[in-house]
């Protein structure tokens, strides 16, 4: 799981390693129900100078965005007046969604969007999965990391948010109020089942052991098995402590068995033993 505000401002480099600017924003096509990132907005610290289709991206990492050879030809320059050449149904996540006001279906103001949670789809594409509305994210963006750690992530699934008016107006997104407070275990379980394991593990780590345990307990067996085996040893121990006893009892023998990630080492040892025995014979 990636946080939008952690990803922006990283350098965007061409295949030959030369930087063309920093990542300023990401665009979404509203008509696209999957909320997959469509384009990158690249520029200087102060303004967006180019838009770039996602097809030009070779890798999207936290340290930098690397482009494919020939990406220069796909750069769409921005008018010097600053008017972005966006499609009519295209919006910028940072400019149009981040910090937008969420209101419930009755029009009552609830909270502002503090961050956008993204996940990687197969093939490295990014998809918006939720809006973080927790105060922890506000603290995180202000550089108050210790304070941020005290607040849990409170997210609203992207599917539950509906754009209801143009940029900057009060009714930007609408949702049933209950959804805003935080995703419950069942909703988290649905989310975990739909994202790649790497993103799901990131999400579980972000949730903290108590909520992670509740979410795991609510998932289907095959999903929870995949996730429990993917968590690192220390995290999985704390999560098990918070799982209902019957669930924890189910996972302990599975976790006690050699985990796939350790196998190469054991094989290596076995190989040496066998080899030694072979050598002896």
């Amino acid at each position: 799981m990636l946080r939008f505000t952690d990803e922006i401002r990283q350098p965007v480099v061409l295949a030959d390693g030369s930087a063309i600017g920093v990542l300023r924003d990401l665009t979404l096509i509203l008509a696209d129900g999957d909320a997959v990132v469509d384009r990158l907005a690249v520029g200087s610290r102060f303004r967006i100078s180019h838009l770039l289709p996602w097809s030009a991206v070779a890798s999207f990492e936290h340290s930098q965005v690397e482009l494919l050879p020939g990406a220069e030809a796909l750069l769409v320059p921005v008018d010097p007046t600053g008017v972005l050449p966006l499609e009519s149904d295209e919006m910028l996540i940072g400019r149009d969604v981040l910090d937008a006001q969420i209101v419930d279906v009755g029009g009552q103001r609830l909270v502002r969007i503090a961050d956008i949670l993204l996940t990687r789809l197969p093939g490295e594409r990014l998809r918006v999965v939720a809006a973080d509305v927790g105060f922890g994210s506000v603290c995180q963006r202000m550089g108050l990391r210790r304070l941020a750690a005290r607040w849990p992530t409170e997210a609203v699934a992207w599917e539950d948010l509906h754009l209801t008016s143009a940029r900057g107006h009060v009714v930007q997104l609408a949702t049933a109020r209950a959804l805003v407070h935080r995703l419950d275990a069942a909703e988290l379980a649905t989310l975990l089942a739909h994202v790649p394991t790497r993103s799901a593990v990131d999400l579980l780590e972000m949730l903290g052991p108590e909520r992670a345990a509740a979410a795991i307990a609510a998932t289907q067996y095959d999903v929870s098995r995949r996730l429990v085996l993917a968590l690192d040893g220390e995290t999985v121990e704390t999560v098990l402590e918070h799982l209902p006893e019957e669930h924890a009892r189910r996972w302990r023998p599975i976790l006690a068995k050699p985990r796939p990630i350790r196998r190469p080492y054991r094989r290596h040892r076995g190989w040496r033993r066998t080899r030694g025995r072979d050598a002896a014979t």
């Binding site: 103001r109 909270v111 502002r112 940029r167 900057g168 107006h169 009060v170």
Partner: protein
């Protein structure tokens, strides 16, 4: 012919009903501009205007005129931004300039507003002490009364009470007339800019600008217009409301200056605060003028004491994104009501602490307000020029130029206030 007669006979009715409808619409829209403007004439403002009149007579009334023009410009802009975007100033700042700047503005605003609310309750205490009421009774009783009205009433009832309270400012007009001023000199001072180039004159000029255009007034007018659910269709009437409020603020300031210029300046009396002015007026302009001046201080302080915590609550909720509406139930707008209560309680507590030095708190408040004013105006300018946010109501280049010139002049005043005030 018959048809024509019947048409002409029928025609006046729609005109009358049209006028009535327009008047009804205007009355319905009135509020944000009047309250934001008049609450600027709080005890700190009355003190500033009194000192302006007592020290410099009618000579520097033009400063008040220019301050009123700046007030019209930026209150109009604030109301327009609220009506068009449906958001308060701090909310828009967070959305356009990011969470850090919005947080910094909110924290500074909250601290400054607590200090200013202290000043309002100190004004209530001083005003009622003129009538022999101890502050240990007057301050808690008025705090409970004001909070009760604001927290328990509906939007319209609260608005009506606050507007009725504003009528107390008529006392200043009466007080000014009773002082028998030299009207010719007063209008000359208003129209012909001149001032002695002394530290005191520059300080009082900048303080006049600062007290007329306050950060909390800017955030209040925008959020209140949102709370009142005004729409772009109401903007024409809202402009009348803002201009009326700002002009009345200037007119009341004018009469305070005139009253003090005609009496205290003529005798060379010096004053430190507004209650000094009320006491000093008695032998010069009569008991009635003095009493009216004192009543004005209490009324002005009550109005500002109701509006300042309200402005703070709106801003805090705007930053968080929580519901902020006078009509909302406590369960739906907990943060809004708790902030109101907390600001009032802290201010009242500080005023009632025996032996507490209020002067450093009030000085810090003035400095914070001065420091905050320019960034807020710059944020407002940026939002006013943002076509994505303001759409067809984006400030055109000419008007933007006027904003920039005004901001530059205010910047000079703030710099002068900080340099001379600290020096």
């Amino acid at each position: 012919m018959t048809e024509q007669t019947s048409k002409s006979a029928a025609s006046p009715a729609p005109i009358i009903s049209g006028r009535r409808a327009r008047l009804a619409m205007l009355l319905a829209v009135l509020g944000p501009g009047l309250l934001a403007g008049l609450s600027d004439d709080d005890p700190a403002g009355i003190t500033t205007y009194s000192v302006l009149g007592a020290q410099f007579g009618y000579q520097m009334l033009w400063v008040l005129l220019l301050s009123t023009v700046a007030l019209v410009l930026f209150h109009q802009l604030g109301a327009r931004m609220g009506v068009v975007t449906g958001q308060g100033l701090i909310g828009l700042v967070r959305q356009r300039y990011g969470v850090r700047r919005a947080a910094l503005a909110t924290v500074t605003l909250v601290i400054a507003n607590v200090g200013t609310t202290c000043a309002e309750y100190a004004g209530i205490a001083a005003g009622l002490e003129l009538f022999g009421v101890t502050r240990y009774i007057s301050v808690p009783v008025t705090a409970v009364l004001v909070s009760g009205i604001v927290l328990r009433g509906s939007f319209h009832r609260i608005e009506h009470v606050l507007m009725a309270l504003s009528a107390v400012f008529l006392a200043y007009i009466a007080s000014g007339v009773l002082a028998h001023p030299d009207w010719g000199a007063a209008f000359q001072g208003l129209a012909v800019p001149s001032m002695p180039l002394t530290r005191d004159a520059i300080l009082i000029a900048t303080a006049t600008v600062g007290t007329t255009l306050a950060p909390w007034g800017l955030t209040f007018i925008q959020s209140y217009a949102v709370d009142k659910k005004l729409t772009p269709a109401d903007l024409r009437f809202e402009n009348i409301d803002v201009i009326t409020g700002a002009v009345l603020t200037g007119v009341i300031g004018f009469f305070i200056v005139v009253a003090c210029a005609a009496t205290l300046h003529a005798t060379g009396a010096t004053i430190d605060d507004a209650s000094d002015a009320a006491r000093a007026l008695e032998p010069l302009a009569g008991n009635l003028a003095s009493t009216l001046f004192g009543v004005g201080i209490v009324g002005a302080a009550l109005l500002a004491a109701a509006i300042l915590p309200l402005s703070t609550s709106y801003s805090v909720c705007e930053f968080v994104g929580a519901e902020a509406a006078l009509d909302a139930d406590y369960a739906d707008a907990r943060l809004f009501y708790l902030t109101y209560g907390a600001i009032t309680a802290i201010a009242v507590g500080l005023v009632l602490v025996p032996g507490i030095a209020l002067i450093p708190i009030l000085v810090l408040t003035q400095v914070l307000n001065a420091v905050l004013l320019l960034p807020l105006l710059a944020f407002m300018y940026g939002i006013a020029r943002d076509r994505d946010l303001m759409g067809e109501y984006t400030a055109p280049r000419g008007l933007a130029g006027v904003y920039l010139v005004t901001m530059a002049l205010i910047g000079l005043c703030v710099a002068a206030l900080l340099v001379l005030g600290i020096g």
